[in-house]
Symmetry: C2
Subunit: 350 residues, 2 copies
């Protein structure tokens, strides 16, 4: 640990990774699985996605301790066709199942040009962008998604029946920055509504509905209601598509069948994920792809900005910039997260 | 032709299909290719998507007549890996290239569980949902997209650098209605802004920017500016992803390299498409999939509607309802479209 500022500390990547692995070993995971979990969660912290990084040791840990998540799952991979793999996560920690599914899909894509893995029996698998970056660095374009606990009402409906499912996309650039897009389907995160409420401000009527499914500008009513999807019926459709692929086709739970980890931490959620990987190395040479990806980014960067101080960005630039900086200067992380990691690490086998 | 009401007529599907095929033969297409074009465009009309149906004979026809589109392309399919196919459309009519790419991807998915086709050298290929339905009826889940002429500014930018690219998704239901979602990335279609302008109404500030890239509620300024993507930077990212897959990875044109068919009708556009197909028959039995798909729809339908007269819908229901009705009662189509079809059909070989 190098520096301390309020309740945040800055920790070198290697030190944080090592502590994280010990912590998950302390929670009962084998070393290899603890390494996989921390590979994803530390990359989330590197990207600046701290809500989806090692801070998750709190919720993952609580569920591991009450046996809601299986610390030593027997994960199976069934290759049902040359390019298609079914994964059963046996209720393991999400990123352990996620990494296994990603690797299975990449292996199939190496042979077949394309590989798809459907995973069931899983849990929260972190943000999507770390998986997309691992895939992109190995030459794979990707579409990856997971379902989630239900928090969103169907378009025109009035109770929570679908999750704010994350979906992400990646396209490699062998000689530059890959394209990375990681998004939830809601217009705004619940935290933004909470902040507006605290400041006594109204919110745009596109963010949320009240508890009766009617759009509202009142953050209090919105917190009692449901997040709205981007583009209305379009985002609703996208959220359903992610759940159909991640949950329904994978033989996992979907929609209201997904158990809440808050209400029932001791029960398996049976979340599902999907990984679609395309081997870009078969499509053309690395020079061909680099030239096109760099040209693609240049065309966007060259659009005159509407506000002179806000240049046009390509998705992934902010996260990759933070990753490069934090790899060099250390990762900013909550002191409370560090304390919890140390507490669990103390239980790790020597 | 059965009935006449204002400038719309109702024509039985078989009669419209037969006239459409003759019209495209009159424009120089071989019979098989004319059949493929009309299979897609007539299905668009059946779905009620008349702007993307046989009315396209006008723009397709103009470009065929000035040799901007090749009526007799030599379309090649190269299977670069067991599950991955590259299509060169040789500047053929879009749906001819689209159908060939769809069939290649379905064939690969039959063998490998998954099949992906990237197409270059193409043109406007109609709406996505007809391809999704053909795939779903054969047991394939699909993600399909195309790029398009640039009409949208990058997020935070101020000139048109990306297209309002269509993307669509389908999931089969062997014993009921498939899930079908077909969407462009803009919040609203330009036609809606034009209508607001005619009525002298303002528009929501989420629909469009003025010509300087600043959000506006003035439909006149919006018509002079750029459509906004759904969810701001999220929709911007999605539009880029569609272009990366459809244009960049397929070796077609992308972003500003896509030529405008309005400004340069005699030049090849080199549009690209992608088709990702997953063979759901390998994932479980038809009973398994039917049970889950019907349950999925029921959960959504059972959400109490926010407005009592507007029940919750599953994407595709409206289009499939129109298709069923128009198959029985005939297809509503513009009298001007019928006249143009007859004019071209008169040039068809006997």
């Amino acid at each position: 640990m190098n520096a301390r500022m309020n309740d945040q500390v800055i920790v070198p990547e290697a030190e944080l990774l090592s502590l994280g692995i010990k912590a998950f070993q302390g929670l009962g995971l084998p070393q290899r699985d603890a390494e996989d979990v921390c590979r994803i969660l530390v990359m989330a912290d590197l990207f600046g996605l701290s809500t989806h990084g090692l801070s998750r040791v709190e919720s993952y840990g609580e569920r591991l301790l009450v046996k809601g998540i299986n610390p030593r799952p027997n994960i199976t991979a069934e290759r049902i066709a040359p390019a298609l793999v079914k994964i059963d996560g046996d209720n393991g920690v999400g990123p352990v199942v996620g990494i296994r599914a990603l690797e299975a899909a990449m292996n199939a894509a190496r042979e077949c040009g394309v590989g798809v893995a459907f995973a069931r029996g899983s849990n929260h698998f972190g943000p999507v962008s770390p998986y997309s970056l691992i895939a992109a660095e190995a030459g794979f374009a990707s579409i990856i998604g997971s379902n989630a606990t239900t928090t969103i009402a169907p378009w025109g409906g009035s109770d929570a029946r679908l999750g704010n499912s994350p979906v992400g996309f990646g396209v490699p650039n062998p000689g530059g920055a890959p394209f990375l897009l990681d998004m939830a389907i809601s217009v705004a995160a619940r935290a933004k509504i909470r902040n507006a409420f605290k400041r006594g401000e109204s919110i745009p009527d596109t963010w949320a509905t009240d508890k009766n499914g009617r759009t509202t500008t009142d953050p209090a009513a919105a917190l009692d209601g449901f997040l709205l999807p981007i583009g209305g019926h379009k985002g609703y459709g996208l959220a359903l598509l992610v759940d159909l692929f991640a949950g329904l086709l994978s033989d996992a739970a979907y929609l209201t069948h997904v158990k809440s980890w808050v209400d029932a931490p001791e029960e398996p959620q049976n979340l599902g994920h999907f990984f679609i990987l395309i081997n870009t190395r078969l499509l053309g040479s690395t020079e061909w792809l680099t030239r096109r990806m760099n040209d693609f980014a240049s065309i966007l960067h060259d659009s005159p900005p509407a506000s002179p101080d806000k240049p046009v960005l390509v998705p992934g630039e902010i996260e990759l910039g933070k990753l490069a900086r934090q790899r060099k200067e250390g990762i900013t992380i909550g002191a409370d997260v560090m304390a919890l990691l140390r507490q669990h690490a103390a239980n790790a086998p020597i």
